[in-house]
Amino acid sequence: MEFATYKNDVWGREVIRGVSWDLLWLVVVAAFIAIALHAIYAATQKRAAKPSSEGARVTRHDTIDRLFHWVMAASVFALLITGVLPIVGIEFAWLELHWIAGIALTVIVLFHIVRAVFVQDASEMVITGSDLKEPFDDAKKPGKYSAAQKGMHAAVTILTLLVIASGIVMFAMIDTPWWERTNSLSESTLGLVFFVHGISTLALIGLICLHIYFALRPEKLFYTRSMIKGWISRDELDANHDPQRWSPDESS
């Protein structure tokens, strides 16, 4: 299977056209296999006692961050729906919706970067040496974010930035209310941009599948709740986090 598709440029030279969308199938299947394997694995493990969600609560996500997350999710889904459905043959006028959602995503991501760097404690998300030991040492508990969460965040960050960067280049290649398209890139460069956009999209699809899966897993559901309501219980905190590394205030 090819990762990329190729075409002839205006002078008949072979250049990259973009990602091979056959990979979409592979990604979807791979994600589901991974999920299935994990689910089977998890089912065979002795289930630890589920910490109570009652009692004292601590704030995990501020309202603004939760809002950010869901707006981002909405824009990502809008982008995936408008970008991928036409590829699998569900035809509709997708292009305008796609770039509008793309602008939304770009703006919200910029906001998040600014907030993460200047307002929040960005180090919470930095992957450290101890994070790497964490999965192999039951005694080790994470700070605010687990190694898996940090890894997911890092991957999503890189892919999203790639998809945004390539998307902005592609945006210049279409007519919009603000400018006429430029056709300024060489065809091979343009093909590379399409490839980056496509391959990051595919990787994101896979990661999002996993993300949703983990978000819905019973033992992780409290994180999802926290992304909706903002809090986790003290019990949940104690069971999953190292208070040395993360000690949030109690909330009301």
Partner: protein, 195 residues
């Protein structure tokens, strides 16, 4: 992103990528069972200028190709091979066709007439041919066989056309020499309406 894949196409791509590509040869090997659904055989008979000719014809072959390369009827010219000039015009069941844009397999049950089939058995020229000589219609002559065939088709349907009707009927035949006026004179003469 390229919506080059429709639903069916996508599903097909899935099958192709997960199993093995259904290659061209795969389709060909399935031909026998396709015959009943209209797959064509190579050795066919076609009726050209009143004679039935047995000829080996590839499925995709054009009539112009068969006439010129297989039956040595080189009076039919290939000027563009794209249906944009008319030099290859022949009659199929009396109607003008661009033979460069006609599949030979589609004329199996029909009568093809080329410029070589117009003369009477005693060698007498068709009235259109004679009129084209009398009016000095051709210049370089490369488009002439096509012009002759268009004129023959017109007159068999409308023996006394007006000059404007003739102009319309002949309009699918280019002449780079620009001999249109003389061709029309020829058509009018052949119809007995001397120009």
């Amino acid at each position: 992103m390229n919506p080059q894949l429709s639903r069916r196409r996508f599903i097909k791509a899935v099958i192709a990528s997960s199993v093995a590509a259904a290659s061209n040869s795969g389709f060909h090997s399935a031909l026998a069972q396709d015959r009943s659904r209209g797959a064509v055989e190579r050795l066919i008979s076609i009726n050209v200028n009143g004679q039935t000719r047995r000829v080996d014809v590839a499925p995709q072959e054009t009539l112009a190709h068969t006439l010129r390369y297989k039956l040595s009827l080189t009076g039919t010219k290939i000027g563009c091979n794209r249906g944009e000039c008319g030099a290859c015009t022949v009659l199929i069941d009396g109607i003008t066709n661009y033979s460069c844009s006609t599949l030979t397999h589609s004329v199996r049950t029909r009568a093809v007439k080329t410029v070589e089939g117009l003369q009477a058995s005693d060698g007498t020229l068709h009235p259109v041919q004679q009129a084209f000589i009398d009016e000095l219609s051709p210049q370089c002559g490369f488009c002439t066989p096509g012009q002759v065939m268009s004129a023959v088709a017109l007159l068999s349907e409308n023996p006394t056309p007006t000059r404007e009707e003739a102009r319309q009927a002949m309009s699918g035949n280019l002449c780079r020499c620009g001999a249109y006026d003389h061709y029309l004179n020829g058509v009018m003469r052949a119809s007995g309406q001397n120009s």
